[in-house]
């Protein structure tokens, strides 16, 4: 009887410990996400929306292609700060801006499609 109680106690401790660790990790992840806001730029009808985006340093910007045709997101500087693959409909591309500055970009398939991210 004593050994059964010991095993039950150990199991309960293990379960509780696991729960505490998991909860701690998830709150840690949540804190990290809170620190790094994610902002979305929508690609639709041959334009980036918003065309000019102002974000704090460390922000992650996600471009989502809501258009029917493929687009890319490519910074205009050389060497390229960021460059996506070809994004089909509903595909996303994310980039985290770790330095302040102005980052103009365009779609390399449709060069008249331009946008700008201002990182402050």
């Amino acid at each position: 009887m004593r050994s059964v109680l010991t095993i039950a106690g150990l199991t309960a401790a293990l379960v509780l410990g696991t729960l505490v660790v998991c909860t701690g990790q998830s709150s840690h992840v949540a804190n990290a996400q809170e620190k790094m806001p994610s902002i979305e730029v929508k690609i639709d009808n041959f334009s980036f929306g918003p065309a000019t985006l102002t974000v704090p340093v460390g922000s992650m910007v996600t471009w989502t292609n809501r258009d029917d045709i493929p687009h890319t997101v490519v910074s205009t500087d050389d060497p390229k700060t960021f460059k996506s693959k070809v994004l089909d409909t509903n595909e996303k591309f994310s980039f985290t801006f770790s330095k302040a500055g102005t980052y103009p970009y365009f779609c390399s398939i449709h060069p008249k499609m331009t946008g700008k991210v201002v990182v402050q």
């Binding site: 041959f46 493929p70 070809v86 398939i109 449709h110």
Partner: protein, 146 residues
């Protein structure tokens, strides 16, 4: 942007592939039209007009294919294509081969001084359909047909 930079001249704000593609499409469709009219009206002059249109159309496909592939390699860094872009690439290659094939049939017939073979007409009709579909996809990609 530097006006004498090759990439700028070929692609920036003014993709040459999009400009050049109009020449083989127009020349080929008109060439086929003249060929069909020449066949129907039994007029040698229309057949000659068809031949020269098809000849220039075949020549015009080369810069179009080159600028298309260069745009893929430079602007998209040769990444694996899928969807409409892949369909456009495949159909563009098939269209180019068909345009050159039709011209070759006409050229060989003229060289051998034979009558034009009847089987060319369905090939030409199919080629016009494929060229038109390829052009439609290109227009869709560039936003003209979107």
């Amino acid at each position: 942007m530097h006006p004498f930079d090759v990439k700028t001249i070929l692609f920036a704000k003014h993709a040459q592939h999009v400009v050049l593609i109009h020449f083989p499409i127009a020349l080929f469709i008109i060439g086929v039209l003249f060929d069909f009219l020449g066949q129907w009206k039994k007029q040698q002059l229309l057949a000659v007009a068809a031949y020269y249109n098809l000849c220039v159309a075949a020549i015009a496909t080369f810069p179009v294919v080159v600028t298309g592939i260069v745009a893929w390699q430079w602007e998209l860094e040769g990444q694996k294509l899928k969807g409409i872009l892949l369909m456009h690439l495949v159909m563009g290659c098939v269209s180019s081969v068909l345009i050159c094939l039709v011209w070759f049939i006409h050229m060989r017939t003229r060289r051998e001084q034979e009558d034009l073979p009847g089987y060319r007409l369905p090939i030409e009709a199919a080629a016009v359909v494929i060229v038109s579909l390829t052009g439609h996809l290109g227009g869709f990609l560039s936003g003209v047909n979107g």
